[in-house]
Subunit: 164 residues, 2 copies
Amino acid sequence: MIDANTAHRWLTIIVALLIIMIYIGSMFDHCLYFNTTALARQLEGEWAKAFEPFDLTPPQAFLLRAILDQPGLMQYELANALTISRPTATRALDGLKAKGLIERRNSERDGREQAIFPTAPAIAMHTSLNEASVQVGKRLKKLLGADVFADTVTKIRGVRAALK
Amino acid sequence: MIDANTAHRWLTIIVALLIIMIYIGSMFDHCLYFNTTALARQLEGEWAKAFEPFDLTPPQAFLLRAILDQPGLMQYELANALTISRPTATRALDGLKAKGLIERRNSERDGREQAIFPTAPAIAMHTSLNEASVQVGKRLKKLLGADVFADTVTKIRGVRAALK
DNA sequence: CATATATGATTGCATAGCTAACGATTTTTA
DNA sequence: TAAAAATCGTTAGCTATGCAATCATATATG
């Protein structure tokens, strides 16, 4: 049997440890929004480095990659593919247009629509742009482990689908 | 033994199915960056609804919650806690100040620093703000399943830590 | 102790995202 | 067929974010 003094000392220590454990973690550690937005900013930085040689920001580069992959999509189709709003697509395309990387063509069947095509300089970037992207993916998979990487993406896609 | 014609027909069908499978998924389905930024935008919308009654955007509300949780932190400590840059913190705090929710006090020990405190109106919001946040968490856990929710957050935190 | 360096907050400038509203065009409906 | 509703792209106006540079204050160094 332990005496009352010993019991009290131990209790004090345990309570102190619990308090420390609570304070070590920060308030939003278990918040999906907080962690998702924070990760998004971190990844933005990683991809920005990869696309810097092309003078493209990550959103611009991903948009251009989609255009190179499927030339001739309408603007609203691109907006859907990238899950951005149409106004955001308009401005991102304005940016690529200003760099001479895309052109807009009036749709023949519907006067409201604009089909988007890559220009020759953009097509010339196609391979190296995809190669740079593959390299980032490889680097992250190596850093995190390929299984963790894939699991994380799957989990995130699951949440996205559930929220839709 | 099957004849050459049958074999050819089957091969054609299989190849066609593979091509369809590739096209059903979109180009960035397995991209961590793409899915993370997309999820961040979706969650932004969810939390925006929750904080609308308080006339706060999600970034403002999370900042205010941190201030209410630990009054008197320096600006750079808040920036670190929220993993945003100091300029972003300055501007977010300007916003809360304009709404009369926080005040800046000069640090006594270091003339460069500013300690941030909630005002009385902000303190009056403390409970209901936290309650609204808990409700969002509960709703998402119900929608996704508590285990999926927790797993997703854990995975994302793992990636964040690995990238740091 | 004087000067150089580092740090905290701010400001300037840029990008990316959203909603609301509008003009042009197409489709639906009465 | 005329009017109403829907759709596509754009514009206006807002927020959030970052980097680079600046100012003021502390700290380190010679």
